[in-house]
């Protein structure tokens, strides 16, 4: 069992960060196609599905399918020494150690036993009636504006408009995006769901880099957010469970 790869440092950093926003440890599957992982945050409120095709690497060799366990924080520490244009060389035999060559440094990090990492979560099968495509940066902006007034925001659609609102104790903010400000919107019914900004704030740091972000939305249902990384060679999908308003609490 051996794995060898070479990749641009910026691309690798983007990949790792899109996952580490939600989880600290992951199981990474490596096969002939590329690398992938599915992981949920410990509370199982959010999930991240990550895929990077071998075309996203400059070099990529794996002799048989393998799963390795990563501590993402350790990896980020190492990547912090690299400049965006640098190249990273990775190598692992037998999956218990990973050597990483970056910017003249030669690291050896021990990998985690995959059986000690949280099980891969069950991905819910969702049928979400609204589909919105927009620039990632618009989501980041809406999240930042909402954070100033509340801990939650509401994603909703009305007559082919995508509406983001946040209401605090005293203040509120609203952002309405019509078809001209969106790349695309398709809805079969009006939808509305509330989400915690704790999670969205972290996710939006990766989302903002994508020129095209797909959002799928329902009413009191999880939101699915997809975008590409490393040109078109990588794909990230976030799933976030909604807040459900109970009758006894005042609506945010």
């Amino acid at each position: 069992m051996s794995f060898e790869a070479k990749i641009n440092a910026g691309s690798f950093k983007d990949s790792i960060e899109s996952i580490s926003r939600l989880v600290d440890e992951i199981k990474l599957n490596i096969n002939q196609e590329g690398i992938s992982s599915v992981s949920a945050d410990p509370a199982n409120v959010a999930m991240v599905m990550f895929k990077l095709k071998k075309e996203g690497f400059e070099e990529f060799h794996v002799d048989e399918e393998m799963t390795i366990g990563f501590d993402l924080n350790r990896l980020e520490d190492i990547l912090s020494v690299a400049s965006m244009g640098d190249e990273i060389e990775m190598q692992s035999e037998e999956g218990n150690q990973l050597s990483i060559k970056v910017s003249g440094f030669d690291y050896k990090i021990s990998l985690l036993d995959p059986s000690t990492i949280q099980q891969e979560p069950k991905v819910p099968d969702l049928d979400l009636p609204a589909r919105i495509v927009l620039e990632g940066n618009k989501i980041r902006k809406a999240v930042r504006a909402s954070e100033k007034v509340s801990d939650y925001l509401v994603f909703s659609t009305k007559d082919d408009k995508f509406i983001i609102t946040a209401e605090g104790d005293n203040d509120s903010v609203k952002m309405e995006l019509d078809e001209s400000q969106l790349i695309n919107i398709e809805t079969s019914e009006d939808v509305r769901s509330i989400f915690s900004l704790d999670y969205l704030a972290d996710m939006s740091k990766s989302i903002k880099k994508a020129s095209e972000t797909k959002i799928r939305l329902g009413t009191d249902y999880p939101v699915k957010i997809n975008f590409n990384i490393v040109d078109e060679n990588g794909e990230v999908e976030y799933l976030l469970a909604p807040r459900i308003e109970s009758e006894s609490t005042t609506s945010p």
């Binding site: 199982n44 819910p124 915690s196 249902y221 999880p222 469970a241 609490t249």
Partner: protein
């Protein structure tokens, strides 16, 4: 208190995030004693109101329960009922220990020996009936459910975990595992930097999860044999055999299969072995308990803590806000497995 079987068991350090949204059946007496022991001034004097009544346990119950909610878990407090008769000797001994410690604490305090006084004070903590009733009252006002056990609280809590009404028992003692709880969480209310008792050193205290099934598999014994090991070392219901610690007890039980043969081989005896085993295997528990989650009653909480017990109104108000927000966060946030 309890049994010293901890070193034998399979434990894992965990983070609060892993308990998000989970209900934990907390041993109330155990926790209140913790509060009474550790929430003290440096010379050992507990928190008191203007009438001289101890309020350390209310402070712990209020603020530390809020901390638990903020970490995303929902506590259910389980109170002890009438102890099994076999426990009387232990209870008497504890009473004497407290009495002696109280005397020594007062002497040390008078002499101005703070460190010595603190050490004695934490052993003098006494939980009386009124304190227990008032604690239940405060939990009621906070909207936190509690369950009254007919006998041992840890047995009732273990039963609630088996019934899947909660995820784990929260206690500093291991008895709930002997009562059959699949999981025990230790250090729920004391995580973070803690002073080592009697020393000037501080240690980081982390959450620990003990897993009964994994422990039994690792030790290659049955639950009944684990109970027998506990009896050999000593439980709340019997004194152990002198010179037999957890490791020796495990070895002997594995070698001879059961406690009767072990006792015969080492030529020792323990009274009431059968009865003690029965306390652990078939404890007195109630099937008819209700777990009710209610909205916090703010004005009652304020009256109880501020008007009647001289807590700072400003701090209590902040606490109430934190309580409301964290409860709404837990109850309103869905998880992905529900879709």
């Amino acid at each position: 208190m309890g049994t010293e079987i901890g070193d034998l068991l399979e434990k894992q350090e965990i983070e609060f995030e892993g308990l998000h949204g989970k209900k934990i059946a907390i041993d109330a007496y155990n926790t209140l004693y913790q509060f009474l022991s550790i929430i003290r001034q440096p010379n050992g004097t507990p928190l008191k109101d203007s009438k001289g009544r101890t309020t350390s346990h209310f402070s712990g119950l209020f603020y530390r329960t809020i901390n638990l909610f903020e970490k995303g878990l929902e506590p259910i407090f389980v109170f002890d009922g009438k102890p099994p008769e076999l426990k009387n000797k232990t209870l008497k001994e504890r009473k004497n220990t407290r009495k002696t410690a109280k005397k020594e604490w007062k002497e040390a305090k008078q002499k101005g020996k703070d460190k010595e006084a603190y050490k004695k004070a934490i052993r003098s903590s006494k939980l009386n009936k009124e304190m227990v009733e008032n604690s239940k009252q405060l939990l009621d006002y906070m909207g936190v459910p509690y369950v009254q056990a007919p006998s041992e609280g840890e047995a009732q809590a273990a039963h609630m975990v088996k019934e899947e009404d909660s995820y784990a028992v929260g206690s500093q003692d291991f008895d709930s595992l002997l009562f059959g709880s699949p999981y025990l969480i230790k250090n729920l209310t004391i995580t973070g930097k803690r002073k080592l008792p009697g020393k000037d050193r501080y240690v980081e205290v982390n959450l620990e999860r003990f897993n009964l099934e994994k422990s039994l598999n690792k030790l290659e014994i049955t639950k009944e044999q684990l109970i027998e090991i506990a009896i050999l070392i000593g439980t709340d219901y019997n004194e152990g055999i002198k010179g037999i610690g957890p490791k020796t007890a495990l070895k002997k039980i594995k070698e001879h299969q059961n406690i009767d043969t072990v006792l015969a081989e080492i030529d020792e005896s323990i009274d009431n072995v059968k009865e003690i085993k029965q306390i652990f295997l078939n404890p007195k528990i109630s099937e008819e308990y209700e777990i009710e989650w209610n909205e916090p009653k703010n004005s009652e909480m304020k009256k109880f803590l501020c008007d009647e017990r001289d807590f700072s109104e400003n701090r209590v108000n902040k606490g109430i806000k934190r309580l409301e927000k964290s409860i709404s966060d837990i109850r309103n946030q869905a998880t992905l497995d529900s879709f």
